[in-house]
């Protein structure tokens, strides 16, 4: 085990990388996750967007539309000229600006009777938050109702059309909040686990690739290869040193998460905590395998730093650590399934959302975590193969 001891020693001498990546990024993950609060309200209430309506028509239908838009909203008054309207949205003075054009009522009724398109509303939606976009959807739905009632009864007055549309769109879905005795994990802990994937991967990969760099120098390899150490044993011992380095990183980050977020004290099932912790281990081992690969490729210190960070960021993005995968496109979700952290994060989210950890769920999550371990194994095998090819090339 002399090569193992040597490899561990020279990796450990690059402890500054532990400080930079493991501790700094680990702290970032803790602080970032600590800022995320789970919903605490006891009653449900609709979010009130800030809405400005400019009615240039002054008709009965436009008044009904204005009333509908301002219902459950905070009204904001803006001047009726282009710059002021755009400025209101840009500065987030209003989440949504609705301009009802002149001749709206007449145009809508005529269009409904003839089957033509309804008059277009001019709208400005704030890019900050989704409130404006949601309001836009509601307004469009209301205009569709107006159009529908106008087209079904050609004799109906504007008053009747408005009343019918308001009644149709006025129904609200009853919402009730209730709490469940859950064995799941806190949102903070799960967010930490997802964020920590970047720290685990990047730390392991860079710590190993940079730490082992001197073992790759030509003269050093020459000196080691002429020694009485079998090449298989040499590779295995270096590999073991990589695993040990990643275990240390995993232990630091996983322990920090358990100590800060105390998931077991919060009533989470030990099985769900185990899934998270083993998921983190899988990611750390992927980092170790990737660092081993970079080392076999002879990556310089700057290349190892760059590659470790870029791949770590990309993989954690695809795992849903930065943006929930539920709100990204289908293509991204499909691509994410072919990235290594996805499976670990998916398993963590599944156990965190389940009210109870059944054996079936535990097995499924363990299987997903197992996929993460397989990723590590595959990358390590590729690294070993590359190392052998390069060794043969040098010997040819």
């Amino acid at each position: 085990m002399n090569v193992f001891k040597l490899a561990v020693t020279i990796i450990a001498r690059h402890w500054s990388y532990l400080l930079i990546y493991t501790l700094a990024l680990g702290c970032m993950a803790i602080l970032g996750s600590g800022a995320i609060e789970a919903p605490q309200a006891s009653e449900f209430s609709n979010d009130a967007p800030k809405v400005a309506v400019v009615d240039r028509d002054g008709s009965e239908l436009s008044a009904a539309l204005k009333d509908f838009a301002l219902k459950d909203a905070v009204e904001v008054h803006v001047e009726d000229f282009t710059f002021a309207l755009q400025d209101a949205a840009a500065k987030d003075l209003a989440s949504y600006v609705l301009i009802i054009p002149e001749g709206f009522q007449e145009g809508l009724v005529e269009a409904a009777h003839s089957g033509a398109d309804a008059p277009t509303l001019e709208t400005v939606v704030s890019y900050q938050g989704a409130r404006g976009a949601l309001m836009d959807q509601r307004v469009k739905a209301y205009v569709q109702s107006l159009y529908g009632f106008a087209s079904t009864d050609v004799q109906a007055s504007a008053h009747d059309i408005a009343n019918n549309a308001t009644a149709a769109c006025g129904d609200e879905t009853p919402v009730e909040l209730f709490s469940v005795d859950s064995e799941g994990l806190s949102a903070k802990y799960i967010n930490f686990a997802a964020f920590s994937a970047y720290a685990l991967f990047t730390s392991s990969a860079i710590f190993i690739a940079v730490g082992l760099a001197s073992l790759r120098k030509t003269e050093m390899r020459r000196r080691l290869v002429v020694g009485p150490v079998r090449s298989e044993s040499y590779g295995a011992q270096v590999g073991l040193a990589c695993v040990l380095a990643s275990l240390v990183i995993w232990a630091v980050i996983a322990a920090a998460g358990l100590a800060v977020f105390r998931p077991l004290a919060g009533g989470a099932a030990p099985a769900s905590v185990a899934i998270v912790v083993f998921g983190q281990l899988g990611v750390a081992l992927i980092g170790a395998a990737f660092g081993f690969l970079l080392w076999q490729l002879g990556a310089s210190e700057s290349v190892a730093n760059g590659a470790g960070n870029i791949v770590g960021l990309a993989c954690s993005f695809f795992s849903g650590a930065w943006i929930p995968l539920s709100i990204v496109g289908e293509g991204v979700r499909v691509a994410a399934a072919f990235t290594p952290f996805y499976w670990a994060t998916n398993a963590m989210i599944e156990v965190s959302q389940a009210p109870q950890i059944t054996s079936g769920l535990a097995l499924q999550a363990a299987g997903e975590v197992g996929v993460t371990f397989l990723w590590a194994l595959v990358i390590a095998i590729i690294a070993v193969a590359i190392g052998r090819v390069r060794l043969r090339e040098r010997g040819a």
Partner: protein, 322 residues
């Protein structure tokens, strides 16, 4: 090859051929090194010295030939033979992350697993190369000469029977160079066999019991330093200062000396007359007599035997350091 010669050989290489594509790096290379020898491989850069060593150490695959170390066929998996070998590479190969002691210990640990024994060996190696005061220092704090000494200590700490030194004195100050050369002789005295490659002729001549001169992957000459020098026509080199001699007069004097029967060549350059003579007891008297009869004023005169560079020059027609 004589049978008894092969039986005593620590290194035996027969008809070794190594090609790099179309380039023939070793052309039917043969080598026999006996126990307790310091064997010098001499030749310009790219002559095949390092390739030959790499083949012997199984760091390079070769196209043809046989290599035996300690009387047994050397293969990449002969770890028992590798255990008896030490290598001091041309480039300093030590870990910047480790101290002097740790560096020597980690390489020694590849060969010796017993901790107590290893500690003794490491201490001996440190003492051998004179790094006692630098035990806890990292390599980056050592001078070039001390680094070279550390490089040597890492290769010899496990007390190998056969040691390959590949240009160990490149870029080393004279004091460290002498210490290194003395150390190699001491290793030989302690029973090790040494293969020493260099392009510094003086060093090779100083410590090697036999010398092989190589060029273009071929063996050009083999023997002791004296045997090699005796094998060439030049037996003595005479240098005479001609104070105040102008170019024309110096060239005329060179012509006069060059016409002497034992003088092989004579040139005038930088106010000095350089005469290469065959081995003869009267060379100096004849040359000075010729200059006196030509009424040429003579300054300092000195005579020296031929060097290995002269051997190389005569065999290849070019300087060793070209």
């Amino acid at each position: 090859m004589k049978e008894n010669e092969s039986a005593n050989s620590v290194v035996s290489v027969r008809s070794l051929v190594k090609r790099y594509g179309d380039i023939l790096a070793l052309d039917h290379f043969n080598l026999e090194i006996g126990k307790g020898e310091i064997f010098g491989l001499l030749g310009p850069n790219g002559c095949g010295k390092t390739t030959a060593i790499n083949c012997m150490l199984q760091l390079l695959a070769y196209d043809k030939g046989d290599i035996e170390l300690f009387g047994e066929a050397m293969k990449p998996t002969r770890y028992d033979l590798k255990r008896r070998i030490g290598v001091v590479p041309q480039q300093v190969a030590v870990f910047d992350e480790l101290t002097v002691f740790e560096n020597i210990d980690c390489f020694c640990a590849l060969y010796v697993s017993d901790k107590t024994r290893r500690r003794e060996l490491v201490e001996e190696a440190i003492e051998f190369v004179g790094l006692e005061d630098y035990r806890k220092m990292r390599p980056k704090k050592l001078s070039g000469g001390l680094l070279r000494r550390l490089n040597i200590a890492c290769g010899i700490a496990h007390k190998p029977e056969l040691i390959f030194f590949d240009e160990p004195t490149v870029a080393v100050d004279p004091q460290s160079r002498n210490a290194i050369l003395d150390g190699i002789v001491r290793l030989r005295d302690e029973g090790a066999t040494v293969v020493y490659t260099s392009h510094y002729m003086e060093e090779v001549e100083q410590i090697c019991s036999r010398i092989m001169i190589m060029d273009g992957g071929k063996i050009l000459a083999l023997g002791t330093a004296d045997e090699l020098k005796r094998g060439i026509a030049v037996g003595e080199k005479i240098v005479i200062e001609l104070p105040g001699a102008v170019e024309a007069r110096g060239c005329a004097a060179a012509q006069t000396v060059g016409a002497l029967p034992h003088v092989l060549s004579c040139e005038f350059a930088n106010g000095e007359l350089h005469a290469a003579c065959e081995a003869s007891e009267r060379n100096l008297l004849d040359v000075l007599g010729a200059l006196k009869s030509s009424r040429v004023a003579v300054g300092r005169v000195y005579s020296e035997p031929p060097t290995l560079n002269d051997v190389f020059l005569e065999i290849t027609g070019r300087e060793l350091r070209d």
